[in-house]
């Protein structure tokens, strides 16, 4: 059977016709039973998130937080919230594809997710066009509730605008003038640094940018970057990085001993997700901000949350668990307040609503649907032989939220 291409005897038309038919039957066969039976009394949330690859850890945390929230709501006699999950593999085109499947087929009332910012933006576009509310608890881009924000998008995760402003507030209290900016070469890194820098130049006009360094996501060897920055001798190195890069970067800080000469700022540097893998190899003299720690703030609410989470999943909650948890709580409260499962009414109820969270009061701002929660700042140091976050303070939401005017202006452009 040498020839399949050049074989003239069998009839092309016949062949093509039969293939076309096979293909058509195959694909239309799959679409024959779109019977998603939904109990209309319950609200159904479709979660699109990244459950494969390097970012899977965040999706798992936020999902568990969300599950805890809806369980607590139901236990208190509140509305029943159902959910289904879909894995987008960190690919934005998969995110929208699943979002469509969830809305059109699964008939979900709400969408939620997704760790990939590009995915969040793509889903939020779909949400807007189809009037399906979308709770973003994974994408940190400031565009989601900023320039690309709309009535149907809510964010229960502090975005890069907030992180940047918090960092700027922290740094403005310190004497550094010559600043080197660096980060992972992707949206999160760029956005944190851009926001931080614009806020810092407002708060402290005499700062000077010495240069910028950007490394690719997944970089394993940070020594050439650190060595190059060290030779420029800035007062402080400001870093926007996250995920797996964060741990590797901290290791390189320790190995090169950079922080003995130059202090470093990085968001989530003292997060357990960063410090736990590092063990006694964590560098000191690294400062940063953090939205949530399981031991800070040291309040009864936080302790209760940690205990409940631990009981359920046998591990301590990380920040993303809080974001998912808040997503569930805001939704549950809004459904109750709206007294209906009508999406528009729930949106109205969610706008500007406030809930109690482990970190204090959290508000979904009416104007931009961005959650406002306090944030801690501190520095890593060795205390009694143990490397931990010290000198922790709280920044109130008022200090770190971007101005509503600026956001509305960016949307109108």
């Amino acid at each position: 059977m040498a020839s399949m291409v050049g074989n003239k005897k069998s009839h092309y038309l016949f062949r093509i016709g039969s293939m076309l038919l096979i293909t058509v039957l195959l694909v239309s066969g799959c679409g024959s039973s779109p019977n998603a039976t939904t109990d209309k009394k319950n609200v159904k949330v479709g979660i699109v998130d990244t459950y494969t690859g390097g970012a899977a850890i965040y999706a798992q945390d936020s999902l568990d937080g969300f599950k805890l929230a809806i369980k607590e709501i139901a236990a208190k006699g509140g509305p029943t919230i159902e959910f289904v999950t879909r894995d987008d593999e960190f690919k934005p085109d998969k995110s929208t594809s699943w979002a469509k499947e969830l809305v059109m087929n699964e008939k979900v009332d709400f969408l939620a997710g997704t760790t990939n910012s590009a995915g969040s933006l793509a889903v939020s576009q779909f949400a807007k066009e189809n009037k399906v509310p979308f709770i973003d608890w994974g994408g940190m881009s400031d565009k989601i509730t900023g320039a690309a924000g709309n009535r149907y998008v809510f964010s229960t995760i502090p975005n890069t605008a907030i992180i940047g402003k918090a960092g700027a507030v922290q740094l403005s209290k310190l004497p550094y003038k010559k600043i080197w900016l660096a980060g992972s070469d992707y949206e999160y890194g760029h956005s944190v640094i851009t926001n931080l820098w614009s806020n810092l130049t407002t708060l402290k006009p005499d700062v000077e940018k010495m240069g910028e360094t950007w490394w690719s996501v997944g970089e394993t060897d940070f020594t050439p970057y650190i060595n190059a920055i060290r030779s420029a001798k800035p007062d402080v190195l400001v870093v926007g990085t996250g995920g797996a890069d964060m741990v590797a970067f901290m290791k390189a800080l320790k190995a090169t001993g950079l922080t003995q000469e130059i202090p470093v700022w990085a968001h989530t540097c003292y997060d357990p997700a960063t410090l736990r893998p590092l063990g006694d190899q964590a560098p000191v003299n690294v400062m940063g901000t953090n939205p949530y720690l399981s031991n800070y703030p040291d309040t009864a609410e936080n302790k209760a949350f940690v205990a409940a989470f631990k009981k359920e999943y046998n591990r301590e909650p990380a920040a993303f668990a809080l974001y998912g948890y808040m997503g569930g709580e805001f939704l549950g409260q809004a459904i109750e307040k709206a007294g209906s499962t009508d999406k528009e009414k729930i949106i109205d109820a969610m706008e500007g609503s406030t809930i109690d969270t482990p970190v204090g009061k959290a508000t979904l701002r009416k104007e931009d649907h961005q959650v406002a929660i306090p944030m801690s700042y501190g520095v890593i140091a060795k205390v009694n032989g143990k490397i931990t976050a010290t000198d922790l303070h709280t920044l109130s939401p008022d200090e770190i939220m971007p101005s509503v005017d600026a956001i509305l202006k960016s949307r109108s452009q």
Binding site: M1, M4, V5, G6, N7, K9, S10, H11, Y12, L13, F14, R15, I16, G17, S18, M19, L20, L21, I22, T23, V24, L25, L26, V27, S28, C30, G31, S32, P34, Y51, T52, T85, R86, D87, E89, F90, K91, P92, D93, T96, S97, W98, K100, E101, V103, M104, N105, S117, A118, G119, L121, A122, S124, Q125, K143, A148, D185, Y186, E187, H190
Partner: protein, 328 residues
């Protein structure tokens, strides 16, 4: 005896012609009627399949018919999509220009990349397509001002009449059919026959006066053009684009589609695209381990069904009938 069998053969041929025509018409009729029969999600899914099918078929022009180890075809898909996205969001040019430029820019990039690659053979060709393709990806990923970086471009405006699921469906269907017809004509043209000849035996082709490199480059550019067309369709279907569209694992996905349907059968990639898109959807409903499933599926394909599903079906059909040519 011989006249008898030959006349019955002619009858059989005629019958098959009509049957084939009938089936093609039935298929098209079903496709036309489908949006009113199934839920919008499946209409959308079909539009995705059409887009992907065009992409895979365009790859197969160089891969299956040209025998070139083209490992990074998604680049041209992405370029086509990004061209439209950038024109529609950053300029005030009309949609028609964006639609025309999308495939043309893709073809242009294919010309540049192909110009370097056709000088090499076999694995080298493949590795160079991969390297240069990744270079394009890195530029798209990094050029924030133009492409918005890894955030991608979203809410891309398209004309009002192209926004509903059904109109997208019919548009992609129409473009797919037209493109497939053109690609089919190309394969059946002297150019296509010569392309197959350069695949079977490049050295012999050369000594018959065929400029093999130029021929391959032409095929590469044509494939790039149609990948660009698919990229334009992608924009219609999704109205957003991100750099992951031109990362190398996207290209691997297309390769698997071609392999799954059958590299030597014209409709193979279309079938492969349909199967893979549908399967990823169905598997994704039950598990987050779609990639594991895909890996196992690919393993089975390579080991037991290297000629692909359609290739296998055609082969077994031809084997069942005693071949007419063997009697001579």
């Amino acid at each position: 005896m011989s006249t008898n069998s030959s006349s019955s053969l002619i009858l059989q041929e005629k019958f098959r012609t009509y049957l084939g025509l009938g089936m093609a018409v039935a298929g098209i009729l079903i496709l036309l009627a489908i949006p009113s029969l199934i839920s919008p999600y499946y209409v959308y899914l079909l539009a995705t399949i059409f887009t992907t099918a065009l992409l895979a078929t365009s790859l197969n022009l160089v891969l299956g018919y040209g025998g070139l180890l083209h490992l990074h075809h998604a680049v041209f898909y992405g370029i086509g999509a990004y061209t439209v996205a950038i024109i529609m969001t950053k300029t005030s040019w009309p949609f028609a220009i964006a639609v025309v430029l999308g495939p043309l820019v893709a073809a242009l990039i294919a010309l540049v990349i192909g110009w370097f690659c056709v000088r090499l053979r076999g694995l080298y060709f493949g590795m160079l397509t991969l390297a240069l393709g990744q270079l394009v990806w890195a530029i798209v990923y990094r050029w924030n001002a133009l492409t918005n970086g890894d955030n991608g471009i979203h809410s891309i405006p398209v004309p009002e009449f192209l926004t509903s699921v059904n109109s997208v469906y019919y548009t992609t269907l129409l473009v797919l059919i037209v493109s497939l017809v053109i690609l089919y004509l190309i394969i059946k043209s002297p150019f296509g026959l010569t392309l197959i000849a350069t695949r079977d035996n490049p050295m012999r082709s050369e000594s018959l006066g065929i400029n093999v490199k130029r021929h391959r480059l032409t095929a590469f550019v044509i494939a790039g053009f149609f990948a660009g067309v698919a990229g334009v369709l992608f924009i219609l279907v999704e109205r957003s684009v991100a750099p992951s569209l031109l990362f190398w694992n996207k290209s691997a996905e297309i390769l698997i589609m071609c392999l799954m349907g059958g590299l030597t059968v014209f409709m193979g990639p279309t079938l492969g695209a349909a199967i893979l898109v549908v399967l990823s959807m169905i598997v994704g409903l039950y598990t987050e381990y779609w990639l594991l499933v895909l890996g196992l599926l690919l393993l089975i394909l390579v080991l037991f069904l290297p000629q692909g599903i359609l290739g296998y079906l055609l082969k077994s059909r031809n084997n069942k009938k005693p071949s007419m040519r063997g009697e001579n």
